[in-house]
């Protein structure tokens, strides 16, 4: 392969770029105020070139935040061009337009341009999920009844928050007056600007040291390198069309059939070292409900992330630089006006779960081509926002509830974990209860619900919260109607569910989407996480592995017998009875 820059120098520059992105993320995490950034790590940090091509990303950030960063820059540049405006030294831009490259409204990006000898050389960008963005109800998730983009909160399209190095005070005043818990959110935004500026300084120093041409050449090489790896991996897949269809809940409690049990359809066409991803067949957009997914910023990230996690799995390939080169061999199409390519101003703020369902459907489509590199169907996630007013001060707490992976070739699915395009962290119980009028009542694995398979599906969690004062909850989930798919003879997994136990009495099973619902002191809400699908015939699962699950209390002896054909008596495998039972089954 021809390179532009000496391979030794290129390796030095690549290391330096990665170091810069890590430093940005490290500082953002440590400076920020709200737990969604500092504990959940729902943020992104990356450098791009002047055109918005991503050069490197912070390894700590979550993929769904770093992935869209090129889109943010394209959105900012496009918006400026429309206005006849341009980027000048000392500017800092704020952007969250989901129809202009941003992931969704609460993920606000701050971009610091980098100039080298008077010429725009790139951007240093941080993105982060903010607790509140001035939508109709408190919090920035579970806004499941926003009717259009305007109901989702403030929209920023390439807004200058610094101009010529000076703070644009009116903008900050608008933020302070329109966002709940503004101290936290604006503090986080300032931290984002500070971290992006550090990245810009470091990148400038790198340009001063090596010159723009050399650095440009080195990252062009880096893009080629990533592209080359991806192409090589795609080439190993037989040419052809690979198709899959899954369903999302939508609004299960809605009388409108167009709002529930919605199909997601993916057709992958592999030819040579290219993949074309077509989402034709996916349900039409939900014009007045916000589960639509912007094509740029959500759908594209879901597709890219899934393909690279399968084809260039870092467990096998080691760490591969995440940059725009990886996505060059992949083209994506979704018909305008479908869930995966909505038309403005269709609302999109609750696109988190459907987006991960797209990721899961891409995996399902490619599974038959690379059966040893995928998992069976994943359990999707759920976001919950608790809010209230305590001692006169409003509070908001966001919690991302984990899913689980499906079984894998030779390995069980990962239990109770963020899946595919999300990779956040939970909040420590001891942090939650120290700072909020909430109590966590349990946090464990579910029992007797795993998806059976030669490799069983990962197990979901159970987690309950009690309100210690009057407050409210909003829930944005999915995966309560449909089971995660089993693969190669593995059984389907288990769906999620949510229960509300009222302090006044009565237990109610809730749908996966609950707009702002007032709760009384003592009300308890319990989230049951989904369990991933099984992989391979459960009757071929090693009896010892079945016994281990029984000993660990994850499976009872009856289920061992019924689902796996393994007979367990007195905490031992009855080999003879097991053989006989399994033989009879075949």
């Amino acid at each position: 392969m021809q390179t532009r820059v000496d391979p030794f120098l290129a390796a030095v520059i690549h290391g330096a770029l990665e170091n810069i992105a890590i430093e940005m993320g490290h500082k953002l995490m440590r400076m920020s105020y709200s737990s969604i950034i500092r504990e959940s790590e729902d943020f992104g940090a990356a450098l791009t070139d002047a055109a918005g091509r991503q050069l490197c990303e912070c390894t700590m950030s979550t993929p769904l935040q770093s992935g869209p960063i090129p889109g943010y820059i394209h959105g900012i540049l496009g918006e400026l061009e429309k206005r006849g405006d341009s980027v000048r030294p000392g500017d800092v831009f704020m952007h969250n337009d989901p129809y202009g490259g941003a992931s969704h409204g609460p993920d606000v990006g701050f971009a610091v341009p980098i100039f080298h000898v008077g010429v725009l050389a790139g951007f240093s960008v941080t993105t982060a999920h903010h607790l509140d963005i001035g939508a109709l109800t408190p919090g920035s998730c579970g806004i499941v009844d926003a009717v259009d983009a305007y109901a989702e909160g403030l929209q920023f399209k390439a807004v200058r928050v610094y101009e010529g190095g000076r703070k644009v005070e009116p903008v900050w005043q608008i933020l302070r007056s329109n966002i709940r818990i503004a101290d936290l959110v604006v503090g986080d935004m300032e931290a984002q600007v500070a971290a992006a500026r550090i990245g810009a300084d470091r990148y400038s120093a790198l340009l001063d040291q090596y010159g723009l041409d050399t650095v440009t050449g080195a990252y062009e090489d880096l893009l080629d390198y990533s592209e080359h790896l991806m192409r090589e991996a795609i080439s190993r897949i037989p040419d052809g069309r690979y198709k899959a269809r899954t369903h999302i809940d939508g609004y299960l409690d809605s009388p409108d059939p167009a709002l529930k049990e919605l199909p997601i359809e993916v057709t992958l066409t592999v030819s040579g070292s290219d993949i074309h991803v077509d989402l034709t067949g996916t349900a039409p957009q939900t014009t007045n409900k916000p589960i639509n997914m912007p094509l740029v910023g959500t759908v594209d990230c879901a597709v890219w992330l899934t393909l690279r996690s399968i084809l260039l799995d870092s467990e096998i390939y080691g760490s591969i630089p995440q940059n725009s080169g990886l996505t060059r061999p992949i083209t994506i199409f979704a018909p305008e006006g479908c869930l995966a390519n909505p038309i403005f101003p269709a609302p999109v703020i609750a696109r988190f779960c459907p987006g991960n369902a797209v990721a899961d459907t891409v995996m399902k489509a490619i599974a038959s081509a690379v059966p040893q590199q995928v998992s069976a169907g994943i359990g999707n996630l759920r976001v919950m926002a608790f809010s209230g007013v305590s001692a006169g001060a409003p509070w908001v707490h966001m919690e991302i509830m984990e899913g689980a992976y499906g079984g894998r070739f030779g390995k069980d699915g990962m239990d109770a974990v963020d899946t595919l395009y999300a990779n956040t962290r939970n909040n420590p119980i001891e942090d939650i209860e120290s700072h909020l009028p909430l109590r966590v009542l349990n946090y464990e694995l579910r029992e007797n619900v795993a998806g059976p398979g030669a490799s069983r599906g990962g197990i979901g969690s159970i987690r309950s919260f009690e309100l210690l004062e009057d407050g409210a909850v909003s829930v944005e989930g999915d995966g309560q109607r449909f089971r995660p798919w089993g693969f190669l003879g593995g059984a389907d997994g288990s769906p999620a569910k949510v229960e509300l136990a009222r302090s006044a009495g009565g237990v109610e099973e809730l749908p996966s989407k609950i707009p702002y619902r007032p709760l009384a002191k003592g009300d308890r809400i319990t989230a049951y996480g989904p369990c991933g699908g099984g992989y391979g015939n459960p009757y071929e699962r090693s009896p010892q592995a079945v016994l281990d699950d029984v000993l660990d209390g994850l499976l009872d002896a009856q289920a061992a017998r019924a689902d796996y054909g393994v007979v367990i008596t007195e905490q031992r495998v009855d080999e003879a009875a097991t053989q006989e039972l399994r033989a009879r089954h075949n």
Partner: protein
Amino acid sequence: MIALGVDVGGTFTDLILADLRSGRVTIHKTPSTPLNPAEGVVGGIKEVCELSGIEPGRIEAIFHGTTVGTNAMLVHDGAVTGMITNQGFRDILHIGRHQRPQHYSIMQDLPWQSRPLIQRRFRKTVEGRLDAKGAELVPLDEEAVAEAARDLGEQCVEAILVGFLFSYVNPAHEQRAAEVVRSILPDAFVTTSAEVSPQFREFERFTTAAMSAFIGPKVRRYVRELSEELRKIGVSGELRVMTSSGGLATPEMIAERPATTLLSGLVAGVRGGAWVGSHAGMERLVTLDIGGTSADIGIIRDGRLAEADARSARIADFPVMLPMIDIHTIGAGGGSIAHIDRGKAFRVGPQSAGADPGPAAYKRGGDVPTVTDANLVLGRLVADNFLGGRMSLDASASARVIGDLAQRLGRTPEETAEGALTVLNSNMANAIRSRTVQKGIDPRDFTLCGFGGAGPLHAAEVAAMLGMKNVLIPPHPGITSAVGLLTADLEYHALRTAFAVKGTLDVARLQGLFDDMEAELQAIFDRDRVPPGKVRMLRQADLRYVGQGYELKIDVPDGVVTAAALEQVWQAFHDRHRKEYGHAFEANPIEIVTVKVRGIGRVDKLRQPLAYDGAREPSKVGAGRCVFRVNDVLETFETPHIERTSLPAEKRYSGPAILLQTDTTTVVPPGWTYWTDRHGNVRMSRNREA
């Protein structure tokens, strides 16, 4: 007083026997015995005593660095461990922070699930619950605790962790449950989460404590056996073990808190570097300890070893919430392999040829190009004078493997070998940046102290990449860790979660916490029979702006806690925040999250290094062609090979030069001035234009 330092590494056990008064030392290296580490230690002691002519009975103190606990974690070979925890929370250890270590991987494992420290079947739950302020919501079900203990006993569990929510505020439930367990299973290793690390964040605290239980029986057994073996060969001196925080602890303390030894072996090296540096008048150092497979980086600021930030420390991919020296390890060493990866990019490491088969030059069947081969091709290692001639290298084998790689790259062998070193050096420079520049420290004010088998080969070029002007190579780079053991004090830590906010803070409560911790530590020093005059208490606190999740460590003045003293603390926090992150939120309230006391019990240690004179003239044992990059062009220099110990003290020479000694080779590139100081350190200083 005669003292012995013994550091057990993966391959070698290093020993240094010292007469602390005269400063006379005897050093020795012997193969480690991983299956029974005490055997190698005792054998090594006998040998070093023989070498020095000192009877083992005259050794008054033994200072020890061990990897027994670390290895148990790394190979996941610990005790069968059980846990008793709150009802409803059986799987905190299993779910963790519900995050995957790798973003882009389907086939990865979650370490806490694929190799659990405590299997689910051994995690028992009981009723009992405290709230965030430590008030009891549900009383502890002691009968259930007893039943769980009996159950675990029947299943042959050797170690038990008692871990309850909010025990860092109120340890009563944990302590009571531990008492019940001990009464039923007197031989089990029983620990509570609050006694290991009384800090909030249940997954990290439980995991740290689970590690303690997992390695506890093994570490305890080892310390006991070693003490016995030492007595058998007539050593009556006291045994002291280095902990992860860079201090020493008694065998009793180690048996109680085994997790404090997790970095035992690594820390001693940084200590050694700090000691050597301080005698050379350098209080700001970056230590770079390079071996065959990895490089360990430590930072010393104003004579103090930098501490790891509580939430970055990990062992075997598990989080550790304990005071630890900040040591950053990367996969870069003499055995690191230079290769073209699947994407056709040039890389060095992290894969390593290790010691076996090792580099091609070792003639043990290694046939891939390594950093050692690159050094040999460039003339920086001398084939017939490696490790003082104890081993000879095969230059033709190195030339062959580097030549093959060069051909695939379309470069000359020299370019390829030099490229490999540049990439390796830049990986190390980046790692150093992550611990300096990223934390608001300018490395240019620091001296780079290179040791380990390969540190002196690379130190000067790494320093140059970072803009550092000075390099220090200790007299015996191969045994710097063992030296470090002889330079430490007894050191214990106490810690309390405070959650006190500026403005509403209760000064008396804060005072009470410090008094309480100081009394706790004083009791331990009394037990260790440390005279009061030798005990010093240092206070610290972890602070953050209210709402943040990460804290910064700030020194707290001793004596009575006053408003003025606190004012100093708040100001120091703003300054530190600005320095570390480039930004301070001066208008925002500050919270003290934890308060800590570091108790130091002074012990006799290595004082001055021996005076060094050297010879009248350096003895040149040869010369050879050596390739260096000068002003971005590769140049070949006729370079002298000099016996390091012959260099006259304080006499300056110009690079390039290759300095030979029995434990390593030091490279002085062109553009550097070098000399040996009065303590026998090799010093290098970069000329202005280089």
